[in-house]
Amino acid sequence: MKQYLTKDGRVDFSIIAEWINPGTSVLDLGCGGGRLLEFLIREKGVQGTGVDIDRDKIIECIGRGIPVVQQDLNLGLKNFDDGSFDYVILSQTLQVVHYPIKLINEILRVGKHAIVSFPNFAHYRMRFSLMLGGHMPKSKTLPYEWYDTPNIHNVTIKDFRELCRKENIKIIKEMHIRGKRTTPNGFLPNMFSNASVVLISR
């Protein structure tokens, strides 16, 4: 269901890994094959659990020795207690769920902090492609046709900030990814970033 950013994925993983304090507890929603959790468990001594829906990804996680449970994020996180994790990670998953706002509220209930990363739909190439080409934009990070894309809730950096304001969510840190480079603010991130990583809390 979820697409992996081969280039940017590694970049957003490294940002997330940097933000997470050693020895904390981490829930990674849409954890895929468990590479990020494996890194966090080995290098930062975190207590990590992954959640994914895809059978083969789960088998991959299990092979890495990562605790992982199969669950559909669209059905919520009712089985997790309030504040039971220091961090809940939602990396490149927000745009594929049915009700992003519900899930964001859920991850902030379950986690003391949440780290969300998402592809930026307002990247200048996307804008030009829609303006000049007249087609739904595609890119390396969002490569699908409109009719079979798993990315059903495309979002921009501005949109995400606005949502946080409306929902009284604190943005603690932002990091924007431009190619292989990252910047906390940089030049017009909503225009030039491929993806963003945001640390939020209630």
Binding site: S25, R55, I58, I59, P67, V69, Q70, N79, F80, S84
Partner: protein
Amino acid sequence: MGNNKTIGLVQTQYFTFAEYKDNYLELDSGVRFGPITVAYETYGKLTPERDNAILICHALSGDAHAAGYHSPNDSKPGWWEDMIGPGKAFDTDKYFVICSNVLGGCVGTTGPSSINPRTGKPYGMAFPVVTIGDMVKVQHRLVEYLGIEKLLTVTGGSMGGMQALEWALRYPDKIASSIIIASTSCLSAQSIAFDAVGRNAITFDPNWNNGNYYGKPVPATGLAIARMIGHITYLSDEAMHRKFGRKLREREAFSFDFISEFEVETYLDYQGSKFVDRFDANTYLYVTKAMDYFDAGEYYGNGSLVEAFKRVMSRMLVLSFTSDWLFPPYQSGQIVDAMIKAGKDVSYLDIDSPHGHDSFLLEFEIESEVIRNFLTATYKMVQEERVK
């Protein structure tokens, strides 16, 4: 099909303990009981570090013969041949695999059909009521006898999964992991109801005679009906539809009488009568009762599974099957959720399968993939831990 390699010829072995009054085993009911003989088989080799032992727990109608053949003429191998052997999920080239018949069983381990040494006659109903916990206590004695301090994993499907769960709770530091397949932390009212009907079928058979039928005609009708009910709960609507549909056996049209004519009827007849030849009716009563009594949350957590799981010190893998309505996926989900809430290491996969509860015996290819990965990772952790 999977790997055709087999462990080959194997032998059932026996171990007897609790032979004297002062070392009888204390059962959950408070009764002190002995002597106890355990029938078991082992496959593969124990490492010098004794860290590669796996205990397989069988389900209701299983036995110690989990893999391989007893003689070259055997038509069928052990009950989990698909999963146990060289290069298989429970790889006998890497691991030392143990399987024993449960306490109360009828295939070598002491049960109601065994001779009571004090009377020289079979126990029958004089056999004490046992629990899943009691079965596990007996397995623990066997494992100690085999010189194993800590098992790499304990696993089983259905009632075998309950035993694996019981191990994680009763002997938390004696296992590195458990694999709980198509199982539950306690039976639902619906499952208890099916067991009750099975037991009624047996005890209302005139041949049952309050359990004293040894050496006389056995309650074959009752046991066969109990097995038929069981079989219905092991399949699924879809599996039955695929397998039998509304097909008639050996005829084109209805016969307008009450002889078994639908294929599903003759299948149940066959399963029922085949079971009578190899299984003891009293064991059916005792073992289903043990399952009905099993309630991990009640026993270890005063009704809270989360509380119960706080004592767990091992990793856990839970597998369920989408079409299993006897121990439905939500019951596996309860185990998983409680483990997470207790802050424990748990993994869960709900395997998509149309075969109902029986999936745990049939979906061995996907099970093998998951379990092989889980065991490899766990064994690596155990070895790294020792180096530390």
